[in-house]
Symmetry: C2
Subunit: 510 residues, 2 copies
């Protein structure tokens, strides 16, 4: 594994042939990724229908290639070679390729195409529905997505898992609803306790956070921050979307992020950029020697999310971060930040305040937004909830967990892009990411004086720890195995709770 | 043919099946177009190598589909149906599909893939070479492109045409080097005569053209102009590139343009945008009822160029254009344009002044830039010139035709993107476009009071004339046939010369 030019090690023929077949799949996926990115960033509205058709066609091509019997034969031969070789990389490679192939052959091409086309249309409908606060406009698309993903789960059924567990495993390998429920049971009381303490001792929003914040200056500052943290713009770039994301046409060589910006709050842009740059640094840190193979892919969305949250929350919301970056931000906003201290800024960007929008939520309340969505998705897939129940249930659960309720569905059930994309079972990975992230921080802190490094604007040692133990591994280790190898600890939700406890003490003094 | 929703007329089964096969080709081309557009606009440098591979792969897929024997069988059945039907649209459709298929089956997939990969690499090399004034860096890529396109021409050889004629016909149907040489012989003396008269009576550049011109304001004004002329931003958009272009992921629904902007000259941005918007209006005017078929494609690049030049030169550089748009431009640049009259502005944007860069050249000298390139390309393909001769020959011919000589290859042989793209035989279409454009103007003027309409900011009647007689036809008529049907005249270079004569009289008073 190397950060430099791809290795040119001689590989057995069976592996070379396997890699050629994988490359043919990957290059079609490259096109799909660019088309999806363009659909969100630059495509004019008039292009939507044709784009849906083109995506359907390309996903169909990719799917046929991914389940081509000739690929299956290549895998069989590669499996023999890998077993005999004793080479750990080759063994990881064939294990993961086999996993993908066995999943892929179970999905009929027609279903994959139908899902791609439905997704393009659902995305357009969701965007309209959110703009006009019209859930019924989106509901039939959502219902169709659920039906299609039930079929998808049934295709992968081995007789043991629930449909929803199968879908969760598309994003987080080896997780189950049961395990995630246990995590929720540990996490919810801890979060509720912190929220109650913070609510009993509210801190007013400091006057300097008021704005307005010039958007061009925000963007320049955020780009400066992302560059310093380690996001490589020679292999990336920033565009605008309603819902920010990170996408890789060709990891680790072309890894893009998107953002949004408003004059009211600088935090939405800044922390959005740091968050997505965290995702992007993971993808940029993948091993180019294994391009087009699973060893050059992220292992799970939970681990992915741990990287974005690590940079956004553990680093970006710390006092030491502001010791380094406040003087730089002051160059863009001299009068607005006059007299503000790093501690005051760190406190200002770490409020604990129940609110409506998940992506704008603070670290503490965020977990409860995830629990709400997990419960709704479970209900949708075990049949106890129908789509028409969603707006009402959303309000109820918001009240129950956070004590606030949206006036509109746009601020409620329509706020997230995920269901329009059909990514059911994805939300739990956000909470898992926070748990992993807190444990990574604890482990790095044993080797690196994080506060001293960050205060001095040195991010290299921290990034290198993540490069070595997370990024370059690709799909060599399962998420929990990776966590244990990297930190020496099993998954332990109390680490995150303890970390949040310390933060709330800083902000609210309780 | 209709501008509204696609027709749902019942079509014979053989035609429906043919259209399904064509759609499968077209949707892959959609992806290729987006990847190429992205490569020029948003892709980070690090993504270049993977993009070259992805484009090679997709072009290979498209090529296999375009020469699939199953498509050949569909065409045969459709030909029988079309002949029996007496339906002119169906007959045009099968004629053009047959033309494409017969060409496509002659090109081996391996050659197409090799060309796509070479092009991606050549483009990167050209960009570096142009930036660093390093022709030798680009030369091997150019030599490779020429060898590949010689092979390409040989594949299409019927025993009658020269290689260069075959390549010219990829862009302009039915043109020959011989015919184009005749045109040059008519045009060159006319242009030289105008240039001599203008040079004998030079007009100084007016002080108000000096700049600096705020780039954001330039872009806003240019967008306002493009919108008024009829470019539909709901089905389009503007991005930035070194060399502006127009591209259609899915005509007529998604047709994009690019531009460049500098503070020194507003004309580069404004006339670049009008030019590309002219191309884009052609593509946006194609018949959606025939999407994914040749009847929803432009007939030739000469006709395409006639549309861009019509809007840029015939309309955009007229006094009546400035009667309408000068007050609007003055809102962006009040002090700079204080006291400027429409006539003064029209004179200022129509200088006749030999210069180095084709895309910045005035209408009169432009034709001679084309003649130079035509002669060099002819020489490269008949073997009388090698790539190493190019920088020197470029200087010689610039001196001969225009009396000026570049100091650097960046301002000489490296200035155009075309050879990096392998589009040999393309340049002549620029001159043909000017000839067609002048004749379209003359014909429209017989039915519409163009000056009165443009002065009043009414562009609808002019656009509709072009929609009906050019855009909506797609590939129903060959270029010269289209010209004759639309104008009642055969191709006549004297119309352009006469038009330029009138302009030089306005500007130089001679």
């Amino acid at each position: 594994m190397s950060d430099a030019a791809p290795e040119t090690v001689q590989q057995p023929d069976a592996i070379t042939k396997l890699r050629e077949k994988l490359r043919e799949v990957s290059l079609v996926q490259h096109a799909v990724t660019v088309l999806e990115w363009d659909q969100e960033t630059h495509m004019p509205p008039g292009g939507a229908e044709s784009r849906a058709a083109a995506l359907g066609e390309l996903v169909g091509i990719k799917h046929r290639r991914a389940q081509d019997p000739a690929l299956g034969e290549c895998i069989e031969r590669a499996e023999e070679v890998a077993t005999d070789s004793g080479d750990a990389d080759l063994q990881s490679l064939v294990r993961e390729v086999r996993y993908d192939y066995d999943q892929s052959v179970r999905i009929p091409a027609a279903l994959a195409t139908q899902i791609a086309e439905t997704t393009s249309q659902a995305l357009v409908a969701w965007r309209s529905a959110r703009e006009t606060d019209d859930f019924p406009l989106f509901e039939p698309h959502l219902a169709k997505q659920i039906r299609l993903w039930e079929q998808y789960a049934d295709c992968l059924q081995d007789g043991e898992k629930t449909r929803y567990d199968i879908l969760m495993n598309l994003y987080e390998r080896e997780i189950t609803s049961e395990r995630f429920e246990q995590i929720c049971q540990q996490v919810v009381p801890g979060l509720r306790d912190i929220i109650d303490r913070a609510s009993a001792n509210p801190t007013p929003r400091p006057a300097f956070m008021q704005g307005p914040w010039d958007t061009d200056k925000q963007l320049s500052f955020a780009e400066e921050v992302a560059t310093e943290l380690g996001y490589d713009f020679e292999r990336g770039g920033i565009d605008f979307t309603a819902h920010p994301f990170c996408t890789s046409p060709s990891a680790p060589h072309d890894v893009r992020i998107t953002t949004r910006v408003s004059t009211d709050e600088f935090t939405s842009n800044l922390y959005g950029v740091i968050h997505e740059a965290g995702h992007a640094m993971y993808e940029q840190g993948l091993d180019p020697a294994w391009e087009h193979t699973p060893l050059c892919e992220s292992i799970s969305l939970g681990i992915h999310e741990s990287q974005s949250r690590f940079w956004e929350n553990e680093i970006g919301r710390s006092e030491s971060f502001w010791s380094h970056f406040l003087p730089k931000m002051r160059q863009y906003f001299p009068s607005q930040l006059d007299g503000v201290t790093p501690l005051a800024m760190a406190a200002a960007v770490n409020p604990v305040r129940p609110s409506l929008i998940r992506v704008e939520a603070d670290e503490v309340t965020y977990g409860l937004h995830v629990v709400l969505r997990f419960e709704l998705e479970q209900g949708l897939f075990d049949g106890s909830i129908t789509t028409s129940d969603l707006p009402g249930l959303w309000r109820e659960k918001m009240q129950q967990y956070l004590g606030v309720e949206p006036d509109t569905d746009s601020d409620g059930v329509l706020q997230d892009i995920h269901w329009s994309l059909g990514t059911f079972g994805y939300f739990p990975t956000y909470l898992l990411g926070s748990l992993y992230s807190a444990q990574f921080y604890q482990a790095i802190a044993e080797q690196v004086d994080i506060e001293a490094e960050v205060s001095a604007g040195r991010f290299g040692a921290i990034l290198e720890w993540l490069r070595t133990r997370v990024h370059r591994l690709g799909r060599r280790r399962m998420p929990l195995e990776l966590l244990e190898d990297a930190t020496g600890q099993t998954l332990d939700p109390t680490v995150m709770i303890a970390s949040l406890d310390r933060k709330v003490e800083m902000v609210h003094g309780v």
